[in-house]
């Protein structure tokens, strides 16, 4: 039994329950929020005076790269950025670690907690390496965690689509999620990664390009997987990294990808990287196309997005999009990692630096901010940097300041390449976010989009993941060091000092499927994989504190 805690006097921001800054008391018992103590005579273990403070649910990062083979390769590949980075020293209760753009596992957990984040989802795990991701999760404390399973270039999946066998496809999606103990289907450059594996600089070049050998198009993959996910009633149906990431003129591919959902629910991720006008690889034509894309999102409630905000500085690009990694390594001329996983996926990693004097980079920065400011319904746009691709998750407080303080935003815009003002609408946008809206795009919204009933709100039954902030005029200062962070009813951080570092839960789905279709999957598997069928699925012993998230009703 964990402690009985009372938090009183704070201004509570719990938009999921319609509470916008009202002074409320909160009770915590057994790691959950309760309406009141089950035994009114029970002693209160801790009373927290939050008078004058802002109280929100714990933050949720729904798209980051924090675990698994790709992230770990990047750690190995980038020793040069660690010596001058902040030092994470061992203490009596915490492990040591390293920072840089790809922090070590323990450091990742501590730093997220330090920002008031208590849940995070890794966005791209090859199911063949799922075991690796789960092992790292156990070494990434302070967070509840889950991951999305790469399947947009999976051979069985493409074959089921080509053969027009939706029942097989549905069973396969369910089997694959269950085998990996993953949370949601992820499509990365659907079809394009397979073409990359087949030929030099291979890729698909649009949503209707045919994937060699498999004779399907990205549009079919998006459409059919979203149908299967809907039929399975998955809590987060499909998480899509569109084709043509980063290419001038890619906004049309993005628009068509949203249309390919045909009204079914779907999430377009790091949409900033997919909102570019221009073409022919000519930097001079590069411009923002957020206005038409946001108009589509605003009028189509089935579509949600996260931004993938770029911030200026050095970082590491890492992606399941193999051909993109090749493209970026040629652009930047730095070291390059590419790793193809049999039957499933690819991977590309290269160091990059975003400069405010570069027109392309400054436009990417502006385009990200346009997305936050032009989507009318904050429940359908989520804060992300696609950590570490656009920037580190540590930049979230800075993004909050950009959104809540238009003067600051405009001042920074003035330091950027002069053409940014002409190629985007950022200079003309006056909107400023409220604290409630910040609570939506960093907690309540992602919880809703992910189908997490116990997260992102402070009503009875919710996980007691709570962040208490000290208000400050400068919102970056306010959000970069919470007064208090509570995880599952335990105080884990106070004023930047770690107090406890619980391991956290693993969140996954266990969809049911037609077991009679499994032998067909097994036949295929045994023909092509280099490991044994029985050694592929991850069993529960790999998960420290597993929690099955239920299907949508």
């Amino acid at each position: 039994m964990s402690d009985l805690i009372k938090i009183y006097g704070g201004s509570v921001y719990d938009p999921a329950n319609g509470i916008h800054g009202e002074v409320r008391d909160l009770w915590i018992e057994g790691g959950k929020i309760v309406a009141q103590a089950s035994d009114p005579s029970a002693p209160v273990n801790r009373t927290i005076d939050a008078s004058g403070m802002v109280v929100m649910p714990g933050g949720i990062d729904m798209h980051c790269h924090i675990a698994g083979p790709k992230v770990n390769v990047a750690r190995k590949m980038r020793p040069e950025e660690k010596r001058r980075a902040e030092r994470v020293k061992r203490t009596a209760i915490t492990h040591s670690g390293t920072m840089g753009s790809v922090p070590s596992t323990f450091a990742t957990g501590y730093k997220y907690a330090g920002l008031g984040y208590t849940t995070a989802f890794d966005a791209a795990i090859p199911p063949l390496a799922a075991r690796h991701a789960h092992e790292e999760f156990e070494d990434t404390p302070c967070l509840d965690k889950g991951f999305y399973v790469l399947m947009g270039n999976n051979h069985y999946l493409m074959k089921a689509i080509k053969d027009n066998e939706p029942q097989k496809l549905k069973a396969f999606v369910a089997w694959l999620l269950g085998s990996a103990k993953g949370f949601a289907p992820k499509l990365v450059n659907p079809g394009g990664v397979e073409v990359w594996k087949q030929k030099q600089a291979g890729n698909v070049h649009g949503i209707d390009s045919m994937v060699d050998h498999f004779d399907v198009t990205p549009r079919q993959i998006i459409s059919q997987v979203s149908q299967a996910a809907e039929a399975l009633r998955l809590p987060h149906p499909v998480h899509i990294h569109c084709n043509n990431l980063g290419m001038p003129g890619n906004w049309e591919t993005t628009l068509e990808s949203m249309k390919a959902l045909e009204g079914r629910r779907g999430h377009i991720t790091h949409i900033q990287f997919h909102s570019y006008g221009g073409g022919d690889g000519d930097e001079n034509t590069f411009n923002s196309k957020v206005v038409p894309l946001a108009a589509y999102v605003n009028s189509h409630p089935n579509v949600t997005v996260d931004v993938g905000q770029v911030l200026f500085g050095e970082t590491t690009s890492m992606t399941g999009d193999g051909p993109l990694g090749y493209f970026l390594s040629n652009v930047y001329g730095k070291k390059w990692f590419s790793g193809d996983t049999e039957m499933e996926s690819g991977c590309g990693i290269t160091p990059i630096k975003y400069k405010n004097k570069s027109l392309v980079h400054a436009l990417q920065w502006a385009i990200g901010l346009e997305w936050y400011l032009l989507v009318e319904d904050p429940w359908r746009v989520v804060m992300s940097t696609d950590h570490p691709n656009g920037a580190s998750f540590l930049a979230y407080p800075q993004i909050i300041r950009y959104l809540m303080d238009r003067t600051y935003r405009q001042d920074v815009l003035k330091t950027c390449h002069p053409l940014v003002g002409k190629r985007s609408t950022l200079a003309d946008i006056d909107r400023e976010y409220t604290l409630s809206e910040i609570a939506i795009i960093t907690r309540a919204g992602p919880a809703k989009i992910l189908g997490l009933k116990n997260k992102g709100h402070l009503g009875p039954g919710a996980d007691a993941d709570i962040t208490v902030y000290t208000p400050h005029e400068n919102k970056e200062i306010m959000f970069e060091m919470p007064r208090l962070v509570i995880k599952a009813g335990r105080v884990i951080v106070e004023e930047g000092e770690m107090r406890e570092s619980p391991v956290g839960k693993t969140l996954y789905v266990a969809p049911e499927y037609d077991l009679e279709l499994e032998p067909d999957i097994q036949d295929w598997f045994e023909k092509y994989y280099s490991i044994r069928w029985r050694n592929y699925p991850v069993d529960l012993s790999y998960m420290h504190d597993p929690e099955v998230v239920g299907m949508r009703s």
């Binding site: 083979p69 992230v71 770990n72 750690r75 190995k76 590949m77 980038r78 020793p79 040069e80 660690k82 030092r87 994470v88 020293k89 061992r90 009596a92 209760i93 915490t94 492990h95 040591s96 670690g97 390293t98 840089g100 790809v102 922090p103 070590s104 596992t105 063949l128 390496a129 075991r131 690796h132 789960h134 092992e135 790292e136 070494d139 051979h155 594996k197 087949q198 030929k199 030099q200 050998h213 090749y326 390594s329 070291k335 390059w336 990692f337 590419s338 790793g339 193809d340 996983t341 049999e342 039957m343 990693i349 290269t350 092509y528 994989y529 280099s530 490991i531 050694n535 069993d539 012993s541």
Partner: protein, 446 residues
């Protein structure tokens, strides 16, 4: 602890079959072995290669105490206490080995190094450490072994002798398999072997190139130049590499004509003159080849879980091997924090050697220094290293007696299915008990 069947079935006199067991003898980590177990003896190891058969069929439980302190039998508790005291008393404790332990045990070993502000290093530092450093310089274009099986129509081995070191490499992954895009298996592939001597692998090759010893770097740069159509002086190429320019040109034509090329390299490249510069040249060549077609490279790793050691040390510290915590946070410097150096330089003042045998294979100055400091050894067998240890634990053998996770040479994590129980504790159990005591002595509550 994570494993498919973490506890081996209790021993009985009955015959038992363990299907899909994993062999941890080499980096191939074959997970398709069917073991027949009779009276705590493996009598058959179906599909295992000659090395795998020796690994499984010759496995004997050591008839010696699980713990020796100063060479005398002791209880495990006494051993754990003494081990923790030795490590905590040191100013420069080193932990080394790890490549024949499951990742679950490796994680605990890194924790102990962290709580001690000590140094952690793995056998990578004496095998593919140079490849790890080369990787930090240029990156790597690579893939899982199933990609090679399904797509690789041009297979090259450089300074690697899989016929003897990884006997199922050819049949399971690289040469023989009939893959998705190679319906005729071996007939659809070209095999090239480059080495300084005619190894047993050479007869598997369509083309064998015997280059001059210590000239790997020059040979690789010859190919890099040819990949970019740079003109070369034929006399000089032949003089430097021992191979005619025309032969290199022919090879490059074949490489460019391949649809999917793969280069596997071994310690014949990484541990000869040039070391990490050799690995870097090979990785850069592979990268260059991607301007023409698809090409990948992969080190043929030796120990069963040396790849897991790289991964675990990297995810916990940010660096793959040779990590020092003396300042309370991880620092990386191969040549300084690598074990052969901390020993030969006389810096380490106590240590823990996990499933490795530096007393047999390190330099004389390193061995002499290790012999002069108190250290703990964990091994399934008696070795020169266990014999000279202040505390020696006889541990159960991973993959045969204990479960856990092993990372194949291509980073694919594979679970272990143990065959029968050992009377000795696993290295995980020993390390957890030492960690518990180290934490207490160091005042760690985490």
């Amino acid at each position: 602890m994570a494993t498919v069947e973490s506890k081996a079935p209790a021993s009985s006199g009955d015959l038992k079959i363990v299907k899909d067991a994993t062999c941890t003898f080499c980096g191939c980590v074959c997970d398709d072995i069917d073991l027949t177990v009779e009276n705590n003896h493996i009598t058959k190891a179906q599909r295992a290669c000659v090395l795998g058969k020796a690994w499984f069929l010759n496995h004997e439980i050591e008839d010696k105490p699980s713990c020796l302190v100063d060479g005398q039998p002791a209880t495990l508790e006494e051993g754990y206490d003494r081990a923790a005291k030795i490590l905590v008393a040191g100013k420069y404790p080193i932990i080394y080995g790890l490549s024949d332990s499951p990742s679950e045990a490796q994680r605990v070993a890194v924790s102990i190094a962290d709580w001690l502000d000590g140094t952690i290093d793995t056998t990578t530092s004496v095998c593919h450490g140079p490849s790890g450093m080369a990787f930090q310089g240029v990156g790597e274009v690579t893939c899982t072994l199933g990609e090679v099986a399904n797509r690789g129509d041009f297979i090259m081995f450089w300074g690697s002798n899989p016929a003897e070191s990884h006997p199922r490499h050819f049949t399971k992954y690289s040469l023989m398999p009939k893959g998705m895009f190679l319906p005729n298996g071996r007939k659809d592939r070209t095999c090239v072997i480059v080495d300084v001597r005619k190894t047993k692998s050479a007869k598997a090759a369509d083309i064998f190139l015997q280059i001059k010893p210590r000239k790997d770097f020059e040979a690789l740069w010859t190919l890099r130049a040819l990949a970019q159509d740079i003109e070369l002086d034929a006399n000089r190429v032949q003089k430097e590499t021992g191979i005619e320019l025309a032969v290199w040109q022919d090879l490059m034509e074949r490489m460019k004509a391949a649809k999917f090329g793969a280069i596997f390299f071994g310690m014949g490249l990484t541990m000869t003159r040039g070391k990490h510069a050799n690995s870097e040249a090979l990785l850069a060549l592979t990268r260059d080849m991607n301007s023409h077609t698809r090409f990948v490279a992969k080190p043929n790793r030796g120990h069963g879980n040396v790849t897991g050691a790289d991964n675990v040390v990297a995810w916990r510290t940010g660096f793959p091997f040779g990590v020092n915590h003396n300042r309370g946070y991880p620092r990386f410097n191969p040549g300084e924090y690598t074990t052969s150096d901390t020993l030969a330089n006389g810096e380490a003042d106590c240590g823990m050697m996990i499933a490795c045998d530096p007393m047999a294979n390190f330099s004389q100055p390193a061995r002499e220094h290790l012999g002069s400091i108190p250290y703990i050894a964990l091994d399934a067998k008696e070795t020169p290293t266990t014999r000279a240890a202040a505390v020696a634990f006889t541990v159960a053998t991973y993959g045969i007696n204990t479960g856990g996770t092993v990372y194949r040479m291509d980073d694919v994590p594979i679970p272990l299915r143990p065959a029968f129980e050992s009377p000795h504790p696993s290295d995980l159990v020993v390390l957890e008990n030492i960690e518990k005591r180290v934490k207490m002595l160091r005042g760690v509550q985490g």
